[in-house]
């Protein structure tokens, strides 16, 4: 079996590429990797190409005429986070009270709301943003996923940093990863915006 390109680098590039050039670019880099012998040196070259291509490929679909759609998708993502997130938080707090009882610790309730409200909301917001944003949807979703982590990052500056560092890190990384994962989901139906990029 011939060696395969570095999987993480390949996934990152695949995520950043618009649909219409994804196969071609991945194929080109795979060809260069194979012709380079497929060893550690070829893998290093592959990673360098990916690192240098991330920004250009993310912004490939960002033509002036498409900027409005990307901004609209970003707004949709924010609204989803806000409205759906609030409703989900209220629901999951109620669920936590039912499951754990009134005497449940704040930490336990916090983890239940994280798992049952925050993560699904991030996945949904990422998905909607990526597919409503057309060619630049992934870029909009990436911006959204970075913004998701900002409140957790700056909370200590405003005296809300009571959670231990490890717990805050899980919230930050979890929110970021869930939003990115949501935006990487393929369209669930052909009729959805962005189903044919």
């Amino acid at each position: 079996m011939s060696p395969a390109p570095p999987p993480v680098a390949r996934w990152v590039l695949s995520y950043c590429l618009p649909d219409d050039i994804r196969e071609a670019v991945l194929g080109d880099l795979e060809e260069v990797f194979a012709l380079g012998g497929g060893g550690p040196r070829a893998a290093r070259r592959y990673r360098i190409q990916v690192a240098r291509s991330v920004l250009p490929t993310l912004t490939t679909g960002l033509a002036p005429g498409r900027l409005g759609r990307a901004l609209g998708a970003l707004t949709l993502g924010f609204v989803t986070m806000w409205v759906v997130g609030d409703a989900a938080l209220a629901g999951s707090r109620g669920l936590a009270t039912v499951v754990l009882g009134e005497a449940a610790s704040g930490e336990a309730v916090g983890w239940i709301t994280f798992l049952s409200a925050m993560l699904p909301t991030c996945v949904l917001a990422g998905y909607l943003t990526a597919h409503a944003g057309g060619h630049a949807g992934r870029l909009a979703a990436l911006v959204l996923s970075l913004v998701v982590v900002v409140p957790a990052l700056i909370a200590p500056l405003f005296g809300h940093g009571g959670d231990p560092l490890w717990a805050r890190s899980v919230w930050i990384l979890g929110g970021f990863a869930a939003t990115v994962a949501g935006s990487a989901i393929r369209p669930l139906a052909d009729g959805l915006p962005g189903a044919r990029l």
Binding site: L13, C16, I21, E23, A24, V25, L26, G27, D28, L29, E30, E31, V32, A34, L35, Q49, R52, S53, V54, L55, P56, T57, T59, T60, G61, A63
Partner: protein, 110 residues
């Protein structure tokens, strides 16, 4: 000159690389042509970004080639410079020529 026929330096380089690659102008070949002739490192993503911009301006056309095993079964995207693309190249080069006509850069002995 109509809007869309103004070429940046990198766009001109990419168009020239597509022309040089002839009937086999796909990402790997175009990228290699650019790196070898300009002697600078270029990200393949930047090449595709420029090609996409040129395609939207109608200066290149693309079509799908056959998938090959060495590419993991993925098809090539083959590019061709359109007539409008050749015209834009000629105008840009003529503009450069006019700008540099009679200009002494003073670097001959360097």
């Amino acid at each position: 000159m109509a809007r869309g026929e103004h070429l940046g330096e990198f766009e001109l380089i990419v168009l020239a690389a597509v022309l040089r690659a002839g009937s086999d102008a796909y990402g790997v070949v175009i990228h290699r042509e650019i790196e070898e002739r300009t002697r600078r490192r270029v990200a393949i993503g930047s090449v595709y970004k420029a090609l996409e911009r040129l395609r939207r301006k109608g200066l290149v056309e693309r079509r799908l080639g056959d998938p090959t095993p060495v590419r993991g079964g993925r098809a090539k995207q083959l590019f061709e410079v359109t007539r409008a693309g050749r015209r834009a190249m000629r105008r840009t080069v003529e503009t450069f020529d006019r700008m540099f006509e009679g200009l002494e850069l003073g670097l001959d002995s360097a």
